[in-house]
Subunit: 376 residues, 2 copies
C-alpha cells in the first residue's frame, strides 16, 4: 500500500500520513508547487529544495506539445530532463485540453484537438496519455478525464461521467499492461472524481472509481469558477466518501484558507498556480493576509515581506526594494515574490501537518483565521 495514515485529528477530519513513491516519501498534507512546463516558474530546483518542496507537478498536455515525447525519451524521462530527483505528479492535461486547446472534440474513444501553440492537430486517448506519463516517469499518474466547466447541466455531466469512468478504467488497464512482466508499477495512479456540483453524481463517481481501484483519489472539476460555498460543499461531501487508506488530492485548490478548510475535511494533497502566478503580479502571501507589493504604500517600507519568514527574499530584501523591482519591470521581483509565496505555501501546509500530529488542528485553523482579521 502506497499510502499510510499516521494521525487523525480528534475534532476535525484532518489527517496526517505518508505517501510512498518511486522517488521517495511525501509527508501529507502537502502542497505541491506547479511546474507546468517542467519548471516552477522563475525558480530553480535549489530554490524548491530550500523551500522544502517534497513533490512538484508537471503537465502532460504541455510537455506532450513541448519539448515532446522524443526529447523527454532521449533525456531519460522528466526527472532527468529537469534534474529533479524528488517525486513528480503529472496531470493528464484533461484540464488544459478543455481550457487551452481549440476545436476539441470528445468521443468515447478519446479527444481530438488543436494545439494552442501552433494549431497542430492531435488525437489523444486515455491509453496514449498513460503511455506518455510512463515515458515521463511520473511518480503519480493522473488518467485522462473530462474536466467539466461550471455551470453545466446535470444531463451533460451524467454523459461526461460515463466517459470519464470508462477512460479511468482503460487508463488503469493501460498502466498494468505497460508494467506487465515487472514487479508491479513504479508509478502510482489516482482516480479523478468528477460530477460537478451534483452531490449524488459525485457519490456515483466515487463508487465507480473505487470499484476500479486506484492508489489515491483526486477531487477534480473544482476551482473551475464555481462559488466558494459549492467548492467547500463538494470537497467536504466527496472527501468523506473516499476510502480512508488512500491519499486524497484536491486538484487546483487554492487559496490558503481553502486549503486549510479542505484539510479539515480530510484532504491530503494540493496544487495551485496561485503562489507563482500571483507572485509574478506582485502579490505576496503572509499570515496576516496578502500584500500587493506594486502599491505605492510600500515604496519606503523597509520591512521584509513577512517578519520571521526565513526565505531568502525575506532574509535579504525589503518590501521597498521589491516594490522598486516591480516598478521598474525587473525580473528579480517576479522571482523573489514567487520564491516567498512557494515557501509560504509549503510551510503553511507543513505547519498544518504538525498541528494534526500534535492534535490541535482546530485551534491551528482558528488561529490562522484570527490572524488574517488583523491588519497586515
Amino acid at each position: 500500500m502506497s499510502f499510510k495514515l499516521l494521525h487523525k485529528d480528534s475534532t476535525t477530519r484532518a489527517r496526517a500520513g505518508v505517501l510512498r513513491t518511486a522517488h521517495g516519501e511525501i509527508q501529507t498534507p502537502v502542497f505541491m508547487p506547479v511546474g507546468t512546463q517542467a519548471t516552477v516558474k522563475t525558480l530553480t530546483n535549489e530554490d524548491l529544495l530550500a523551500a522544502k518542496a517534497q513533490v512538484i507537478l508537471g503537465n502532460a498536455y504541455h510537455l506532450y506539445l513541448r519539448p515532446g515525447a522524443d526529447i523527454i525519451k532521449q533525456a531519460g524521462g522528466l526527472h532527468k530532463f529537469m534534474s529533479w530527483e524528488l517525486p513528480i505528479l503529472t496531470d493528464s492535461g484533461g484540464f488544459q485540453i478543455f481550457s487551452l486547446a481549440v476545436l476539441r472534440k470528445i468521443t468515447k474513444e478519446g479527444v481530438d484537438f488543436q494545439s494552442h501553440i501552433d494549431g497542430s492537430r492531435h488525437f489523444l486517448t486515455p491509453e496514449k496519455v498513460v503511455e506518455f506519463q510512463k515515458l515521463l516517469g511520473s511518480d503519480i499518474i493522473m488518467p485522462l478525464d473530462e474536466c467539466v466547466k461550471y455551470p453545466s447541466s446535470r444531463d451533460y455531466i451524467e454523459q461526461s461521467l460515463k466517459i470519464t469512468h470508462d477512460w479511468a478504467s482503460r487508463s488503469k488497464t493501460a498502466l498494468a499492461a505497460a508494467c506487465a512482466g515487472g514487479e508491479g508499477s513504479p508509478n502510482l495512479m489516482f482516480g479523478i472524481v468528477q460530477g460537478g456540483s451534483y452531490l449524488d453524481l459525485r457519490k456515483r463517481s466515487v463508487e465507480e472509481l473505487c470499484g476500479i481501484g486506484f492508489d489515491g483519489f483526486a477531487i477534480g472539476g473544482v476551482a473551475v469558477g464555481e462559488p466558494e460555498e459549492i467548492l467547500r460543499e463538494v470537497t467536504e461531501y466527496t472527501a468523506a466518501l473516499l476510502p480512508e487508506n488512500r491519499a486524497r488530492y484536491l486538484m487546483g485548490v487554492g487559496m490558503p484558507l481553502d486549503m486549510l478548510k479542505a484539510i479539515a475535511a480530510g484532504v491530503d494533497m494540493f496544487d495551485c498556480v496561485v503562489p507563482t502566478r500571483n507572485g509574478r503580479n506582485g502579490q505576496a502571501f503572509t499570515l496576516r493576509g496578502e500584500l500587493q507589493l506594486r502599491n505605492a504604500s510600500f515604496k519606503s517600507d523597509f520591512r521584509p515581506i513577512e517578519e520571521g519568514c526565513g526565505c531568502y527574499a525575506c532574509r535579504t530584501y525589503s518590501r521597498a526594494y521589491i516594490r522598486h523591482l516591480f516598478n521598474t519591470d525587473e525580473i528579480l521581483g517576479l522571482r523573489l515574490v514567487s520564491l516567498h509565496n512557494i515557501v509560504f505555501y509549503v510551510k503553511l501546509i507543513a505547519s498544518a501537518r504538525q498541528a494534526i500530529v500534535e492534535g490541535r488542528y482546530a485551534a491551528f485553523l482558528k488561529d490562522f483565521m484570527d490572524k488574517r482579521e488583523e491588519k497586515a
Copy 2:
C-alpha cells in the same frame, strides 16, 4: 593611495593590482556586473557572491529617476537599499542622458533633459550628480561628462571636452566640499577621459584630468558604435598615457576578447551589459565561443552549457533543458544563462589576473584565442 600595483606582466602591459574602497578591496583586473536599476538583471546578491563578483555597478541617472533620492536616503544609501555589502561603482548617467533622455540641452552649467520614463523635466549639474552619488554611498563616483557619439566632428569634440573637463573639476570640488570636516572622502572619484577617436584630443584629456587629480581614470566615449580597430587604438593609446599608480577603467567594454586585449594594454576594470542582456536572449558565453541556446540544434543536447564550468546552471541543467525554457518563454531560462554568463565573465577576468601574477599573460591570451578557433 587607493590603488596598489602588485604585478606587471613582462611581455605585455598587463598588470595586477588591488583597489581599496570603503566596502573592501577589489583585485584587478576585474569585471564588474552591471546593476543599472539596483539589480543585476534576474540575479540575487547570493548569485553574484557565488559568481565571486567583487564589485557591481549602479547607474545614477536611472536611480535618480527611480526609486529617487528620497527613498534611497530613507533606506540609508544604495548598499542598504539593495542589501549589497561589497563595493559599488556608480556611473554618473552621462551616457544615459545622452542615449535615453529626450530633448536634452547641454549648457556650460549642466544638462537639461526629460525623463525617458514619464517625460518629467530635470536639470542636472555636475554638483548635483556628485551630491546624489554621495547620497547613494557609492564607493567609486563617476563625474558627469558628455559621452559623445561616434562619429563626431573634431570641432564638436573639442568644444565638448572643455565642458567635460570643467565638469570634472567642479565634480572634484563638490566631492571635497561634501566631505569637508571628515577624514578625507570615503568615496573614490575617477576622471573620465573623452576625445572620441582623435588621439591628440585623448592626450589633451588625459593631461587635463591628471592636472585635476583623481583616484583612478576611466576611458569613456568608447563602445559607442565605432569600429573595433578604433576601440583598440584608442584604448591602447590612452591606457599608455595614464599614470601607473592609478586604476584604469574601460567603460562599457565588452566582448571577452576585447577585454583581454585591453588588459594587455594595461586596463584594470571593465563593465558591460552583454553577459546579462545577451543571456536574456539565449546567448551563452563559453571558452569555445558563444552558443545561441534558442537554436533547434540544442534541443536534444544534454551536455551542460560548458563542461567544467561549475556554475549552478552548468552543474544542474542541460542545453536541451535551457533551450526548452527559451522555447516556452520561461523566465528561468533568462536567469540561468545570465547566471552562467556572469560567472563566465568574472572567472575569465580572474583567470587573466592569475596569468598576470604568474607572468604568463601573453600565453594566456594566445590560448584563449586558439580555443575560440575550435568548434564549440
